[in-house]
């Protein structure tokens, strides 16, 4: 009977050893432990042949049967099934021997030789099964190692993949950032290019204007000089005519001469008007020589607001505008590039006209357009305000007003450069341009210029 218990012990020991790295559940381990203790006790009792032998022998069979039952019915031990079958013949033979011995020792003596032979075959069977089982176990082990390796590789690949993904995401965001920067640079370049083209156009237009003005100036001088001379001569003729005796013919001649004289005066008057226009064209287009000279700002404002008004009246769609000048008395002279700064006044006043034209078109005769231009001495600064009671500037476009090429005018009416140039000129005078506005009520451009240091 010791053999059966040894088998029990061996099975339990082997099962315990066969635990993988994750181990068996706690209750299984407990079964193994108690089983092994029970087997050891039974072995000890068997050796001691302690009575009642028959009971202990029965317990031995119960133990080994329990172990086999455990192996067959526990999912964790499923792969050990062949192990359960291995000792079965031995146990069977032992059980048979035991039963026969217990029931009828006489029969046992007759059958002993057969039973020994059966025991021997059972042993061979067990060994064969055992070897077979070992082989299976090894295969399972190899399979496990292979699958573990594959799993490891898979994990590695996953890890590398996620690392690569992070890297790709980083690179992608870098590239996107660079792309945005490039796009911005490109936009800047495009707007600068457009600005340059516009400036080039304006410059060549300016040169052309200067050339035309110059060419017109000489003939105009002749018109003016000769008309002036002729008026002088007519005075002289009048003096001479006084010496001739009166007659109807003389009276007719005198009347005609009076008309001629009045015509010449008109020619002279309009000639000098044209001369004034040519002169301001020349002044305007010759381009700043860059010199800042002390300038009477009030005079400049008077001249150029007037010029802007007459320019507007001479162009298509003239409007009726009341221009009010609220110019500070005793304004000190300001260091200005008069040619450049005259553009500021022209542009702001022209802008006001354009804005108010829209309002006039919208409201009709209920609205009377008014531009107010103020100058104020603020101590260390000079304030210039150009205010119109036009449609006002909505908040959302106020910031864009000074940007080059921003225009609210339709089609080809505006270049979008006027206020941008104005702003540049004011900046070049170290001044500041602010815009205050209430939609539907007014727009006020405020220029602050630093006073010249004494």
């Amino acid at each position: 009977m010791i053999l059966v218990n040894l088998i029990s012990l061996f099975l339990l020991y082997y099962l315990k050893k066969s635990a993988g790295p994750q181990g068996f559940p706690e209750n299984l381990n407990r079964y193994f432990k108690y089983g092994m203790i029970a087997a050891a006790i039974l072995i000890a009792l068997g050796i001691a042949k302690a009575p009642p032998e028959i009971l202990f022998q029965l317990l031995s069979f119960v133990l080994v049967g329990g172990i086999i039952y455990l192996i067959l019915n526990t999912p964790e031990l499923d792969y050990q099934k062949t192990l359960a079958i291995t000792p079965l013949p031995i146990i069977g033979v032992q059980l048979l021997e035991y039963l026969i011995k217990t029931i009828s020792p006489a029969v046992f003596d007759i059958l002993e030789n057969y039973l020994d032979a059966a025991g021997f075959f059972a042993l061979i069977w067990a060994v064969t099964m055992w070897l077979n089982h070992r082989k299976q176990m090894k295969e399972i082990e190899i399979e496990r190692i292979i699958s573990k390796e594959q799993e490891r590789q898979l994990r590695n690949t996953e890890e590398q993949k996620s690392q690569l993904e992070v890297l790709v995401a980083e690179r992608t965001s870098e590239i996107l950032k660079q792309k945005e920067e490039l796009q911005e640079a490109l936009n800047d370049l495009q707007s600068t290019q457009a600005q340059l083209i516009q400036q080039e156009k304006l410059a060549s237009l300016g040169q052309l204007t200067a050339g035309i003005a110059h060419e017109i100036k000489n003939p105009l001088n002749f018109v003016n000089n000769f008309s002036e001379l002729s008026v002088d001569f007519l005075e002289e003729i009048g003096e001479e005519m006084a010496k001739i005796s009166e007659s109807p013919e003389k009276q007719n001649i005198l009347d005609l001469l009076e008309d001629v004289k009045s015509n010449l005066v008109k020619i002279r008057h309009h000639g000098s008007r044209a001369d004034g226009i040519v002169r301001s064209m020349l002044m305007h287009s010759r381009g700043g020589t860059g010199t800042m000279d002390p300038t009477d700002l009030n005079l400049l404002i008077r001249e150029y607001s007037n010029l802007a008004f007459h320019g507007m009246r001479a162009n298509p769609n003239p409007i009726n505008v009341d221009i009010q000048l609220e110019l500070a008395d005793n304004l000190p002279q300001v260091k200005l590039n008069a040619e450049d700064f005259s553009r500021v006044i022209l542009n702001l006043v022209k802008n006001a006209f354009d804005a108010m034209r829209d309002k006039i078109n919208a409201l009709g005769s209920d609205y009377s357009a008014k531009v107010t231009i103020r100058t104020k001495d603020l101590g260390d600064q000079i304030l210039i305000e150009v205010e119109d009671n036009g449609p006002g500037v909505p908040d959302e476009i106020r910031d864009k007003l000074l940007m080059p090429f921003f225009t609210t005018k339709k089609g080809t009416e505006g270049t979008g450069l006027g206020l941008s140039i104005t702003h540049d000129i004011i900046k070049s005078h170290e001044g500041k341009l602010d815009i205050e506005s209430t939609v539907g009520e007014f727009t006020r451009f405020r220029i602050l210029l630093p006073k010249a240091k004494p």
Binding site: K217, N218, N221, F222, N224, N225, F226, L229, D275
Partner: protein, 125 residues
């Protein structure tokens, strides 16, 4: 008393003759006209010492410019008074004219009153 006026615009002659009609008639002023710098120099060359008391010249002329002519005249006849008349009232031309030895500098359109004063002084001298 002869005065030479140099200008490529021919109507300048009529203008001057009419403007100085009284001086021509009553004060013995005689106006000579040249329509280019070259022509003016020829008139001056033909008479040495020069017949004219003074020269008034435009600056911007085709061919020889007034300033070029001024340089040549001042080189040949240092005593001759030359005044310049220019449509370009810029300081560069003024500086050049003065450094070449011009007596006066008038800008177009010509202020005939100041020109008359200048010519009056020449006539009386």
């Amino acid at each position: 008393m002869k005065i030479l006026v140099v200008d490529d615009e021919r109507d300048v002659e009529d203008l001057f003759r009419q403007k100085f009609r009284k001086e021509i008639r009553n004060e013995g002023l005689e106006l000579l006209f040249a329509y280019s710098g070259k022509e003016a120099l020829e008139i001056l060359e033909n008479n040495n010492p020069p017949l004219v008391a003074s020269v008034f010249s435009d600056i911007n002329m085709p061919g020889m410019s007034g300033l070029e002519m001024l340089g040549i005249i001042k080189n040949r006849f240092p005593q001759l008074q030359v005044s310049m008349i220019s449509a370009y009232g810029d300081s560069e031309n003024y500086q050049k004219a003065m450094s070449y030895g011009a007596k006066g500098f008038f800008t177009k359109p010509v202020d005939f009153e100041s020109l008359r004063k200048e010519i009056g002084e020449i006539l009386r001298s």
